[in-house]
Amino acid sequence: MDRKKQYLEGVRDGIPIGLGYFAVSFSLGILAKNVGLTPLQAAVMSLLNNASAGEYMGLTVMAAGGTYGGMALAMLITNARYLLMSCAMSQRMDPDMPFYHRLLMAFDITDELFGITIARPGYLSPWYMYGGMTPAIPGWMIGTALGTLAGSVLPLRVVSAFSVALYGMFIAIFIPPAREDRVIAALVALAFVSSWGLSVLPLTAALSEGTRTILLTVVLSAGAAALFPRKEDAEP
C-alpha cells in the first residue's frame, strides 16, 4: 500500500482518537489550572508528553513541589507500559525502514495509537502512524489548553459521552482477535475479572491505576506466553 493511502487511513482512524483525547485532556487542563499552569504551559506539557496517566501524575508531583528526580521516577512508573509497547513495536518494524522513522514514531506511542498501529497486518507503516498522530496530537494539546482556559464549557453530558470513545476503540482492537483466537478471548475475560478484582481488593486498590495495569499486563501476558507460546509462522 502506498504512503498516501496509509496516511489517510491513519487520519481516519485517528479522528475518534483526537475527539476522545480532546474530551479527556479537557479535564487534565482543569487540573493543570489548579496546580498553577498557564494555558501555554499546559499546551506545551501535553504536546511533549502525550500521556494521560503520566501527566496527571506529573501535575501531582508539581503540586507537591517534588524534586526533579522524584518527577523522573514518577514518569518511569506511570509510563512503563510504553516501554513494553515500544518493545512490541520494535519486533514489527521493517529492518530496511530509515532510522529516523523509529525516532518519530516513538514520540507518540500512546495506548490508542499503539493499539491502532499494531492491529494492522504486516510491518508497521510509519505513514499510518503519522496519519493517526495528525488529529491526535492537536486534539490532546488543544483540549488541555482549553480546559486550563475555560474550565468546563462543554456540558457534562457531552463530556460523559465523549469519554467512552477511547474505551470503544480499545474494545474494537481486542475483540476481533479474541473472536479468532480462544487464548486471546480467555485472556481478555481474565483481564477484565482480575482488573476489577485488583481495583476492589483492599491491598491492591491503593496502588495507582497505572501500576495495576503494568502488574496485570506482565503477569497475564507472561502466563499466556508460557502456557500458549505462539507458533513461529504466526509472525508477519
Partner: protein
C-alpha cells in the same frame, strides 16, 4: 520557570521510555517466550484498561456498562474503530439523556 523544568523532565523521561526499545532492538528477538509475551501484551493492556474503568468514565455506571456491551457486540460483528467508538458514545448520550 520551575514549571518548565518539570515539563522538560517529564517529556525527557517519557520520550526515552518510548524511544529506547524501538531504537535499540533492531533485530528480531529469538526467544519464543519473549515473542509470545510481546504478542499478548497489547491485548491484555487494553482489556485491563477498559474494565472496570469504563464504568467510572460516565456519569452513571449503567451507561458505561451499556457502552461496553454495545462496543463488544459491534466489534464482534465487524465494526471498525470509528463505528465502534461512535456506537459507544451514542448509547451513553442517549441513555443519560433519558435518565436525565
Amino acid at each position: 520557570m520551575r514549571i518548565y523544568g518539570y515539563i522538560l523532565v517529564m517529556a525527557g523521561v517519557s520520550y526515552l521510555i518510548r524511544a529506547l526499545p524501538v531504537t535499540v532492538l533492531r533485530k528480531p528477538i529469538q526467544s519464543r517466550f519473549i515473542r509470545s509475551f510481546l504478542y499478548y501484551v497489547p491485548y491484555v493492556t487494553l482489556a485491563v484498561m477498559t474494565f472496570p474503568a469504563i464504568l467510572h468514565a460516565t456519569q452513571s455506571p449503567l451507561s458505561g456498562a451499556a457502552a461496553l456491551v454495545v462496543g463488544v457486540v459491534a466489534a464482534w460483528l465487524g465494526a471498525d474503530l470509528f463505528k465502534t467508538a461512535v456506537g459507544c458514545c451514542a448509547v451513553v448520550f442517549l441513555l443519560e439523556f433519558f435518565m436525565g
